[in-house]
Symmetry: C2
Subunit: 769 residues, 2 copies
């Protein structure tokens, strides 16, 4: 690999100044002339039929511009997620006469002020016929359970409330278990409905031009083009009659992959007002009660068999997710959870079955990791349990069994080309002081006990070769007469640093200063098509096509320079944004000079320099990661204090080590919350969410953080631009199992249910005694 | 030529609904958060040095956010026009300590309201040292005349106030005159400083982000990319740090080719406010007093010799334009005037010399026709004078001498490939009843006399092969999964219908419904480079590249369809937006199906369909036109009433006959004003503009219009897309000389000075008697 001058450097984030100064424009900052405010009325019941709805009292309120009920919107079954049908169940109308969870959308109002809108929705009179409810996904599959849906498409089994079902099998599992020296399980693990909690609230502005019959959305999004496709479908318009503009996004974490009902509601309200922009901003509470979505909660029942030498002979998993009232990207997380659970290790045989099941709870959806955190929380504990049975060190057992270079991942057909797991294990073990876990003096015997745990993970770099998914993006690069660069890329800046890495890739390839690159904000009207920022794809996938567009730009620069110097491209040298005739340094032209030449010189042969690339990435390199947790458990209170987290992640190549570390550190924060405190709690009597604000739903903040160490392991991947792999999601995936394993090391009890609350620790300790 | 299904059809304008409903967004409709209002203090003197300037009293006014004087802006000599240096004199600072006309920019204020800003500029204390003045360009060239500029670049002769000089010669003129049977002249014609008068006022919003050091302009413009280049130069930024957004434009007529001082002033005011958007809207009065620009006034002294058979043997012209205080696009109109005056006819020899001269009057600049109206006003009268001397019918004389197919235009090297002049002359003559002009009974002998006149014109289709100019544009076409089309084109919709013709070209080429095409608004950040809408170039130049981008799109569609149907492109047929395997109609795919296939089907071979074209047009076909005027002159009052105008224009091919006719009818309105009423009057004592509003400056309105007949002559030009030629400017060019010639036919006197006011008619009648 040639020497890199910008890639791999810790340049400051290109959006840093705007953000720290508060100047960066978010959706919430956007104010449009004649704008009005939308507010949604939500269901107080978990399951009910609307028998009467009357908006007349709301409409009497001065300042109210429009009301909207299920009667006002077309009865189009919409798909909400980002996957193409038939991979996603179509189970939802924009507004319906049946509500399926507390918080489900019932009606909406647009008014001159948010206060008037809030008052007006209270005046909407609704009569409900209550329907039977079910909150637990396992119960929901039982015969006789209340049925949530009786219409829809691509729903696996409506009678059993199963939105999606997946089954993966390899080898002879029965034989595998028979041949195993040790069999652990079935062990049942339970995962919680963690909430994404981006700091920027959810919302959008929609403006429906009644004459052009064209709708513009200002909406924080992770995927403007898929948003456009879904919204066009919902609104009954072709795609080019829907424009999605997405400014800076204040955190997304997967949850901004979904088109939520409020998007179409804002548009239909705008239409009813005759074309005013309608702004809807969900309150924090609304985001919890189903206005947005949570990580899928559910159960994972695993069984694992290993031979005496430690090799995994057989694996069995049954995974049941709660979809909530509707199945956002349903087959996605359940499918990915079932898939990824089979692919970190070389199992002799496996059998995995998954269900995503409707319940009368807020919908589950995409959340950083997309099924991976659930999978690894269970998998990485049962691996430790097997290690204990075999009396093997957990690291040793993992090293024996993990996939390695040359292995092919069954479900995707992807061959592993690089794998940094061993280096991650070794670096992390050293940093955490792994051997101490066997020292009883270290672990202690008093009230406070210490322990160390490890967990690994595997993920994807985008969606190529994922069944039912596609992978595509595009990039355009414009050179101007100043010799400067504008990159048109669907580079959703979610806070993850996408614009910074895109800038570095362009600057590296064209050998210019990163300052020379401008990336305009996201707008479907202008940008070339691409899927967006999700699935740990941006740097790996868009990076590939951005680099290709830069190469295409360079090719054009050389062609124009050849004309300028009346020579051939082969006789030219491109270096540091300049072109020189070989052996004639006096014949050198800057990019500015070449663009001026191209645009002005020869009347019969002029052209703007516009580089373009569109296509798939080369591959889908699996990123890997290992995390170690050191914990202190108070055996009297059950409180777990994480003393240290060590994260060693195989990132291929870090385009910008600082933003890569930032991704990992951010992930650790979410991983800690997932492990110890987070989870939306639905009251089993009323179906109401009990912790719908940041007081009661506890996320880890900067002040709560333990000591962390982050290692970037960089086995340059041949398939990624400059060797990169995906990095967006991995960091939070192994945190919870590493902590659970550390707790076991500290106190000898295993809590298999998230979050690992003190009362669960105490209960487990009690049960043990 | 194959049959056309959309091109040539009178489809409704794509912007019609938005405009007639008042929904179309113009710059004036734009309101931004934290926006403040700029106001400019203008010079009360025609020439003076600022000896003291004090803004402290203005700054004390509550609500004032920033003040700006020449001390606050970088002393950068800027170029204001759209031409590349060295073709344009660099003669102006953003603000200077010398003012050169009444209305010149002195200082500026930004405040919370327009009223506060207006009050604040009044509080700026300025002391001036008066300097000697000169208002007449011929006087300004004399030795000892006051000198306007003592700094600058590319100024031809600062001592003689000559901004630009041009000289064109062909053949032996002296010999030509000697061989002539008839010599007319030197005859001196005088042209007025007509004002563009778009209904939308001038102005912009500028926002200078102090952290990104990036400036965004919302500005009605004819050329966003040239605006960006000029503004980047003025502000000291690279081009990609300047963004120009141009919404709908409410009339431009060339005057929105200039970057005016208010543009940079708004930006520097924004910078001083710490980044607030600053909106400056010029009042109607400000636009007249030099806040914008006028058509170049001046004199044209012509001499023409013809042989007995009528062939033009020799021609001599001396043209002096008044630049005003600064030379906007200086070499442009004087150069074009001198050039086009040589090229409508086959002169045996000619000698043309032109000067653009600084005077202490409001600046002259680009205005529809760009020197052509001045040239033809003089030329087409002297041709009639020669015809009279030769006792030839003016049409006959013109037919003998005008350029024809195969001729090469000397100054551009362009060969005439099609020429509809004869057909225009014949169609027009018949429609106006030409022969009546020789009937004294028709002409009358009473107070009201009637007459009929004719005039021809030639123009360009863009700027290719014009010395010092370049010609380039680009287009990108995106196909979406609905199979619909987004065209990215610098299609400045100035009211002329550019978006409609662009839509028709795309729809024709891709064989889809015009409804399927969306053209987003103008934005330099996203659009591919192109020069804009001026010089009668859009349909001819952008049309060529738009068509090429559509063809590139179609090529990609066919390639993907070949993959879809597992066949070759040669085996496919594209028809009406669908692709069919030849001989297998069951294998047909819509555009939507092909895009879905391309974007989703094969993980290793996906791509967005993005058509692209950049380059020059094929050529620069000269459009021609002929107009006939029938007038009634009141010999007692001198009032000229135009009874009928007939315009027959060679437009190549009308993409949309209705918008083409609209262009011509609009041009006739301006031509009538230029002929009879328009011209900014500068007081020869004070240098003040005496008619600075629409009460005192009289333009023709719909109610003032005579009967008009418009003929589109369509000799399909082989170089334009679908055969088009330029059409934007021609219509106003021959109107004034046709009227002047008709007046002569009616009353036997020739008024050689614009506008043809009653007092001038009476004076000429008096002189005759």
């Amino acid at each position: 690999m040639t020497e890199l001058s910008v890639v791999g450097k810790r340049i400051p984030r290109v959006d840093a100044k705007s953000k720290v100064s508060g100047r960066a424009v978010y959706f919430g900052d956007t104010v449009l002339p004649r704008m009005v405010y939308g507010k949604i009325l939500r269901s107080p019941y978990p399951h009910a039929r609307i028998t009467k709805i009357d908006t007349s009292e709301a409409e009497k309120l001065p300042g109210v511009r429009a009301t909207l009920t299920y009667k006002d919107v077309p009865r189009v079954i919409t798909y909400i997620g980002h996957l193409h049908p038939p991979d996603t169940p179509l189970d939802r109308y924009i507004l319906d006469n049946v509500v399926r969870y507390v918080g489900d959308e019932v009606a909406a109002v647009a008014a001159d002020s948010p206060e008037t809108a809030a008052e007006a929705v209270e005046r909407i009179h609704v009569e409900y016929e209550r329907l039977p409810t079910v909150f637990d996904p396992e119960e929901a599959m039982e015969p006789g359970a209340p049925k949530l849906h009786d219409e829809g498409e691509f729903i696996f089994d409506m009678d059993r409330n199963i939105a999606s079902h997946i089954k993966l099998a390899f080898g002879d599992v029965e034989k595998g278990f028979k041949e195993s020296a040790v069999v652990v399980g079935p062990e049942k693990f339970k995962v919680s409905a963690a909430h994404t909690n981006p700091i920027e609230l959810y919302g959008c502005i929609a403006q429906w031009d009644p004459l052009e019959n064209r709708v513009t959305f200002w909406a924080p999004s992770q995927m403007i083009f898929r948003f456009r496709t879904v919204l066009a479908h919902q609104l009954g318009l072709p795609e080019n009659k829907v424009r999605v503009i997405s400014p800076y996004v204040g955190g997304a974490f997967g949850s901004r992959c979904h088109v939520y009902p409020f998007h179409a509601i804002a548009a239909f309200l705008s239409k009813k007002t005759g074309g005013r922009p309608v702004k809807i901003t969900l309150s924090r509470e609304e985001t919890y009660v189903g206005g947005t979505s949570n990580r899928h909660p559910g159960t994972l029942t695993l069984k694992m068999g290993a031979a005496k030498d430690g090799l995994f002979k057989a694996f069995d998993a049954r995974i049941v997710f709660s979809a909530g009232g509707y199945a956002y990207v349903s087959s996605g997380p359940i499918g990915f959870c079932c898939s990824i659970i089979t692919s970190l290790y070389r199992f002799g045989a496996y059998n995995v079955e998954g269900y995503n099941v409707y319940t009368n709870t807020p919908p589950s959806g995409a959340f950083r990791g997309f099924g991976g955190p659930q999978a690894h929380f269970a998998l990485e504990q049962i691996v430790d349990m097997v290690a204990e049975e075999l009396k093997l060190d957990p690291i040793e057992l993992r090293k024996k069994n993990h996939v390695r270079v040359g292995d092919v991942i069954h479900w995707s057909g992807v061959e592993v080309r690089t794998c940094g797991l061993d280096e991650c294990l070794d670096k992390g073990a050293e940093a955490v002081g792994w051997k101490r876990r066997y020292d009883s003096a270290y672990r202690g015997t008093g009230v406070k006990r210490r322990g160390i745990g490890v967990a690994m993970m595997e993920h994807v770099s985008g969606t190529k070769y994922i069944p039912g998914e596609a992978e595509i993006t595009s990039a355009i690069i414009k050179l101007d007469e100043s010799g400067k660069i504008t990159l048109l890329s669907p580079a959703h800046e979610l806070g993850q640093g996408s614009r910074t890495v895109a800038t570095q890739i362009v600057a590296e390839e064209l050998e210019v200063d990163p300052e020379d690159v401008v990336i305009p904000e996201l707008d479907t009207d202008y940008l070339p098509y691409g899927l967006g920022s999700f699935g740990s794809r941006y740097t790996y996938v868009d990076g590939t096509l951005i680099r290709a567009a830069a190469a295409d730009t360079k090719r054009q620069v050389l062609e124009w320079a050849a004309k300028k110097f009346d020579t051939t491209v082969a006789n030219l040298e491109y270096k540091k944004g300049k072109v020189t005739v070989k052996g004639a340094p006096e014949n050198t032209a800057t990019l500015a000079e070449i663009v001026k030449f191209a645009q002005w010189y020869n009347p019969d042969d002029v052209g703007a320099i516009i580089g373009k690339a569109t296509g798939p990435p080369l591959y889908n390199a699996p990123p890997f990661g290992v995390q170690f947790a050191e914990v202190e458990v108070d055996v009297e209170t059950g409180v777990v204090k994480v003393l240290k987290l060590v994260a060693a992640h195989d990132v291929g190549k870090a385009i910008n080590p600082t933003t890569a570390e930032g991704q990992l550190e951010g992930g650790l924060t979410q991983g800690l919350g997932y492990a110890l405190t987070e989870g939306v709690i639905v009251d089993p009597e009323t179906g109401k969410v009990l912790n719908s604000d940041l007081m009661d739903y506890k996320i880890f903040t900067a002040l709560d953080m333990p000591e962390t160490r982050v290692f970037l392991i960089e086995p340059i991947d041949p398939t990624g631009p400059f060797g990169v792999k995906g990095i967006g999601e991995p960091a939070l995936v192994p945190t919870a199992p590493a902590i659970a394993n550390a707790i076991y090391n500290a106190i000898g009890v295993r809590v298999k249910e998230l979050p690992l609350l003190p009362e669960k620790i105490l209960k487990a300790l009690e049960e043990k005694q």
